[in-house]
């Protein structure tokens, strides 16, 4: 009984000081700049620098922190400004000039510049909050609750918002009780397969071997998925807490973070988090003063997609090429160095502290009976509002695309969503009412995968999409199974031929046949799911394949070999030279009427002229098949003569 009290008490002691510092921070002005990799890509660090310099120059009593990402990536760089007497206000689309203006107008003169405000944090009388957005009705934040609002490099911020209390609660329980709680919550692995987490832990916890490991799988290789990165960068301590609880539950003394090398910021922030946790006695010899000890290390993945598969991940940690192996034995029985190992995805572990804190019943209150909890989706592609969204399981695609993502950007129309990365599939526009959870997506021919959603519009070619994913899986195939190694190569060859306009009528059947064989003859899910993009596009967009094969035409005007650029003479403004200047290969010239014409032989189809042509003219168009351009030019010549 003594030890139990200590864990919660030890935490209380650490937290008291953290809370003190936190409240004194909030009594002054606090500026939290969204500085995850997405923000940094568009200049968040420069914005943070300006905030720092300007507040210092104008002697404003303010603290600037580099926080993580709140999920509204479309508005990056953004920053929250908490000024005493005002609600926290989030400003989006910032730049250096705007930042210095905010310091001057808001922090010095007291005008909150509502014209630049995106939303407020907390209900108030004059600025709507994020909950007032259409997406506010759909979203339910559990894991992402604090992302972007606290300093990820400061453990005190995490402690102040209630961090590590899940760990303290878990330490007060018996390990078996922790497993029971997670099991009854129905939490399913968020890495894609949806295996019940509790069962995994139970298997490992019941193993005879006492030397056990826990691994956090942060090898987010799916192109188009970035939620693991965001969580690791925005709230690393949450994942550390989840991993520590997992280690306690299964009785592991050693934990690893396996993070891909393409995420240097995530690696850096997790390393810092581990060091701080150790300093505060949360990790190490005696976790929160109890007899449980845990040592955690970071292992950097080295850029192999297949290493997201748990047996391949283990192979790579053992210093071997990352080849998957047969299961069983499952890693929970014989994993890293042959010892029982629990491997959980970043998101899965992030739910654990909340489940322990609030109970299994609370967790089951969200989502569907088969897939309780929330799902985090990375929205990218042709949406107005791209970013991250945490929604309850069972939310429909329509809600995600139109309420959260605010619909399709530009004037184009919604065509399909690609969900689940290279192992997932394309769902057409007719099925937006599909509820998203593990089981219904599998039925629709896609896969939950890690949760990347790429929205496609009418300008995206589905054949090219399938080719792109096959190109990816073919390159990433580890080469162990013949069907995956050679079958994907052959499928890619066929798809390349089709996108070049050299497809043959029998190609579609051949693709289907190959897809079946690859699925049957592959060991791991990389090969088993590799044909999914082809199968789903063939199922829903067969007409596009046929246009490519029979008419040598790309309906979406995307396949380079099947299109040509053409300037409409009646729309071209004679005195404008925008396209000529933009062309990198000098393929555009003026004819005797000073109308611009493209020399098709020189043209490299770089799209520059189409972008450069001022929107009031829109004279540059794409045509398919490419010989249409030549035909049109001939017509023009004939008309003239």
């Amino acid at each position: 009984m003594n030890a139990i009290k200590t864990a919660a008490m030890v935490l209380e002691e650490i937290r008291a000081e953290a809370l003190n510092k936190w409240s004194s921070l909030r009594q002054r002005t606090l500026i939290a700049v969204g500085a995850a990799t997405c923000g940094r890509a568009v200049g968040a660090l420069e914005v943070a620098r300006v905030f720092r310099e300007e507040t210092e120059r104008l002697q404003v009593d303010a603290t600037v922190i580099e926080a993580g990402c709140i999920g509204h990536c479309y508005a990056e760089p953004l920053a929250f400004i908490y000024k005493p007497g005002f609600p926290g206000i989030c400003y989006g689309y910032l730049n250096e000039g705007l930042a210095s203006r905010l310091v001057r107008d808001f922090l010095v003169d007291g005008d909150p510049c509502v014209e630049f405000a995106l939303a407020a944090d907390g209900v108030n009388d004059f600025i709507p909050t994020f909950q007032d957005f259409p997406r506010g009705l759909v979203e339910k934040k559990i894991v992402m609750e604090h992302c972007g609002l606290i300093d990820p490099e400061n453990i005190e911020h995490y402690l102040a918002v209630g961090g590590y209390s899940g760990l303290a609660a878990a330490l007060a329980l018996d390990p078996a009780e922790v497993i029971k709680e997670v099991k009854s919550s129905g939490l399913r692995g968020r890495g894609g397969a949806g295996f019940p987490t509790g069962s995994k832990w139970e298997l490992c916890g019941g193993a005879a071997e006492k030397n056990r490991y826990v691994i956090c799988n942060g090898d987010e290789g799916d192109p188009g998925a970035f939620m693991d990165r965001t969580i690791l960068e925005s709230n690393p301590h949450l994942v550390v807490e989840g991993l520590t609880i997992a280690a306690y539950a299964v009785g592991a003394g050693k934990g690893y973070f396996y993070i891909r090398a393409e995420y240097p910021l995530a690696v850096e922030r997790i390393r810092k988090a581990l060091k701080q946790a150790e300093k505060y006695g949360i990790l190490g010899k005696s976790v929160l003063g109890t007899g449980f000890s845990l040592d955690v290390e970071v292992f950097q993945g080295s850029g192999a997609f297949v290493c997201g598969e748990e047996t391949a991940l283990i192979a790579s940690m053992e210093g071997k090429p990352g080849l998957p192996r047969h299961r069983p034995p499952f890693p929970s029985e014989a994993g890293l160095f042959g010892k029982p190992t629990v491997i959980n995805n970043v998101k899965t572990l992030s739910y654990v502290p909340y489940i322990i804190r609030n109970g299994a019943e609370w967790f089951k209150g969200t989502g569907t009976p088969g897939s309780p909890g929330t799902a985090i989706f990375a929205l990218a592609g042709k949406l107005v509002n791209t970013g991250l969204a945490e929604v309850p399981m069972g939310t429909t695609l329509r809600q995600i695309i139109y309420d959260v993502g605010s619909g399709i950007a530009g004037n184009s129309s919604f065509k399909a969503v690609q969900i689940g990365g290279p192992s997932g599939g394309c769902l057409p526009g007719e099925t937006p009412d599909t509820p998203i959870d593990f089981d219904s997506l599998t039925r629709a021919g896609a896969m939950m995968g890690s949760g990347g959603i790429v929205v496609l519009d009418e300008n995206d070619c589905m054949v090219e999409m399938a080719r792109f994913f096959l190109d990816f899986t073919q390159k990433e195939s580890c080469g162990k199974c013949t069907f995956c190694r050679l079958g994907t190569k052959h499928m890619l060859g066929i798809l390349e031929r089709i996108t070049k306009g050299e497809g043959r009528p029998e190609d579609m059947d051949l693709l289907l046949e190959l897809a079946e064989d690859i699925r049957a003859g592959s060991l791991c899910s990389l090969g088993k799911t590799a044909p999914n993009p082809v199968l789903s596009t063939l199922k829903y967009f067969r007409a596009e394949y046929e246009a490519h094969i029979r008419e040598k035409r790309c309906p979406a005007l995307m396949c380079k070999d099947l299109i040509a650029y053409y300037i409409l003479p009646h729309k071209c403004e004679r005195s404008c030279d925008a396209c000529v200047g933009s062309c990198p290969v000098e393929a555009i010239y003026s004819n005797e009427d000073r109308i611009k014409v493209i020399n098709q032989e020189k043209c490299v189809k770089c799209n520059s002229c189409l972008v450069a042509c001022p929107p009031q003219y829109r004279a540059v168009i794409k045509v398919s098949p490419p010989d249409q351009a030549a035909g049109k030019e001939k017509e023009n010549d004939e008309q003239k003569s």
Binding site: E76, D222, A225, A261, A304, S316, G319
Partner: protein
């Protein structure tokens, strides 16, 4: 690629220095060790792989197997500035290949190559997780979002300018 005797010696020395930090019996440290060596040398020359093989008592061919399996390791020296163009789904759909072609045109090399003066090397990367800012390119560790062909020209020009200024500033 041929290394001069001096370069070889330097590579071996640096490799040994890093390897000394790792236990000879733990093969699990192989990949972290190789990552560190590449971090210092920029790539993994044959000499370094041989050193690692001797250190961990693994056949050199196994080291080569590991090195060639993972995308992160490279066998040729990189340019001083490494340009990586993201080829993830979102970037691809928003014209990542156009950005790649623009770099190829500006640098006058193909993907996977290094410019003759070893200033730039050009690579593709599967996904850097900045899908909302697509298309994305990295110059060294800096991520540039919402790329356009003209932005490629701009980045290259800015680099040339900086180089020129450095040269002019040199005499003192």
């Amino acid at each position: 690629m041929m290394l001069s005797a001096e370069e070889k010696k330097e590579a071996v020395e640096k490799t040994r220095e890093i390897l000394a930090r790792y236990d000879t019996t733990s093969r699990g440290s192989l990949i972290p060790a190789l990552q560190q060596i590449q971090g210092v040398l920029g790539y993994l020359p044959a000499e370094a792989m041989q050193e690692a093989a001797d250190h961990f008592s693994i056949p050199a061919v196994d080291i080569y197997g590991v090195v060639t399996f993972y995308n992160q390791f490279r066998l040729t020296p990189p340019g001083k500035h490494q340009v990586k163009v993201c080829m993830g789904t979102a970037c691809h759909m928003k014209g990542g290949n156009i950005i790649m072609e623009s770099w190829e045109r500006v640098l006058k090399i193909k993907v996977g190559e290094t410019t003759p003066d070893r200033e730039f090397s050009l690579e593709r990367v599967a996904c850097v997780g900045c899908c909302t800012m697509a298309p994305v390119a990295l110059v060294n560790e800096t991520v540039h979002g919402k790329m356009t062909p003209t932005k490629v020209d701009g980045l290259y020009f800015a680099h040339q300018l900086a180089n020129q200024q450095k040269k002019e500033g040199m005499p003192e």
